[in-house]
Symmetry: C2
Subunit: 278 residues, 2 copies
């Protein structure tokens, strides 16, 4: 583009993508350039601010490794993750709502029998979790597989404990022929997302806290149904109204009920959406 060209810079950049073979990629790059340039123009971004942005992204990249994903954290605290989840998981009324996946899921968690204790040594107050997996007609989904994970009473997931070497407060449960499941674990507590890096600096500079309300993660799979990725949040928890990653849905908030012996019980039923037929 030359400045005798009447097209402004934004149009020249969009024109440079004219020969993109994949129409979807062309659409994405075109929209990205329009919004990126509109942002810089709207705020009249200075060259120093531009460089601060470059430096911020560089530091996010350098702190990211196989255990830490600062770009996902950034997407989470900017609400982009939840926005993307919400837009891609519109379900019929009556289905359990989805929420953010988060960075702490691990493939290949241990399998447990119904009634087992998935805490596996994780510290916290004991809690029994039970419920049923159903479809929109109220019929049970037999053999639904529930992948569950949560933090311990220090607010840390097993993978955040160095040298732990085995799964804690994480496991896979298979529902019975009536879609029922139950297992033992510990009570979830609020925790702070990792905030010792650039995302934490951004939260601090903007007067935001890094906390998430207490929750239990579930990924529920069954043949013929959409996989459901969600949390169950603990009613009365701090931060339900200011989740650092904007993941709370009212329909996912559930009472953890204290029992006479000081342990807790929580019951939650899941309703799955039928998968689209190919």
């Amino acid at each position: 583009m030359r400045n005798t060209d009447p097209r402004p810079i934004t149009e020249a950049v969009i024109a440079s993508f004219a020969d993109t073979p994949d129409p979807r990629l062309k659409q994405i790059m075109t929209s990205l350039v329009q919004h990126l340039h509109a942002f810089a123009s709207d705020v009249q971004l200075t060259q120093q601010e531009w460089f601060q942005g470059i430096d911020f992204l560089t530091r996010c990249g350098h702190i990211t490794d196989d255990k830490r994903q600062e770009f996902i954290l950034l997407s989470d605290v900017l609400g982009l993750s939840m926005l993307t989840v919400a837009r891609n998981n519109a379900k019929p009324q009556g289905c359990t709502e989805a929420t953010v996946f988060g960075p702490f899921h691990v493939e290949g968690a241990p399998h447990y029998a119904l009634g087992d204790d998935i805490a596996n040594g994780a510290k916290g107050r004991p809690c029994v979790v039970r419920g049923t997996v159903r479809n929109l007609d109220g019929e049970p989904v037999p053999g639904a597989v529930l992948d569950v994970w949560q933090s311990d009473d220090e607010g840390l997931y097993d993978v955040q404990h160095e040298h732990l070497g085995h799964a804690q407060a994480r496991g896979i449960i298979t529902a019975d022929e009536q879609g029922r499941f139950h297992f033992r674990t510990i009570v979830a507590v609020p925790y702070a997302i990792p905030h010792d890096g650039p995302v934490g600096q951004m939260l601090k500079a903007t007067g935001r806290h890094p906390w998430r309300p207490a929750h239990l993660h579930f990924m529920v799979k069954a043949p013929g149904y959409e996989t459901l990725i969600t949390h169950v949040f603990r009613k009365g928890s701090d931060y339900l109204d200011s989740d650092a990653v904007f993941g709370v849905r009212q329909s996912l908030v559930c009472d953890w009920v204290e029992q006479a012996d000081g342990s807790f019980a929580m019951a939650f039923d899941f309703v799955l959406n039928p998968a689209l037929r190919a």
Copy 2:
């Protein structure tokens, strides 16, 4: 934010920045969230595409080190760098236009006397460069300092040659009392920006080339004037109309004139903008 809250996700995220102490940071974060969410909504970003974006940024971060800056390259090829330069360097008619800084400037380049050869061993066809630094009234700017850098005939800057260990085709020249300067160097040739990383993959996937037209970089400083960061482009060069980083301004294109002995000569005058008084 809870889904019983009538505010959509974007408004909840913007509200989370309400207590940002620095009003400028609040303005930038608010606009960033609006445009980022509008982009994701406009293209109906899928979760797989979201993850491809996370992975792309991660790879940009991991290839970036003290010699390679993939985020600046990304900003360059998306036209954000040139947009930012253009918006922050609006100058009165008659001043030399600014263009992108690029990633190959080095602080502390060697100083040369007028007439010296700054090529310092870099390969290429010899070229004499001369001109005058003036102000808007046409008066010379005595003692203006010109920091000059360029690639060699392989299209590489000295810092891209491993183990070179000294400056080539790079140097600092001080204009005389009449604002005049002249020095020897080599003829600039087109070169490809680094394209063996994620930015190069994006260019390839979108049918774009990584080439820049032949140019010589200048940073011109003088007391009482705005520092001018610009290029002089070689007339007739390939890629003048498709510069990978959108840096070409017609007013910066200049004839490199071949001489009888096969060497070249190029003359370009710079006009500086007065600095704002504090």
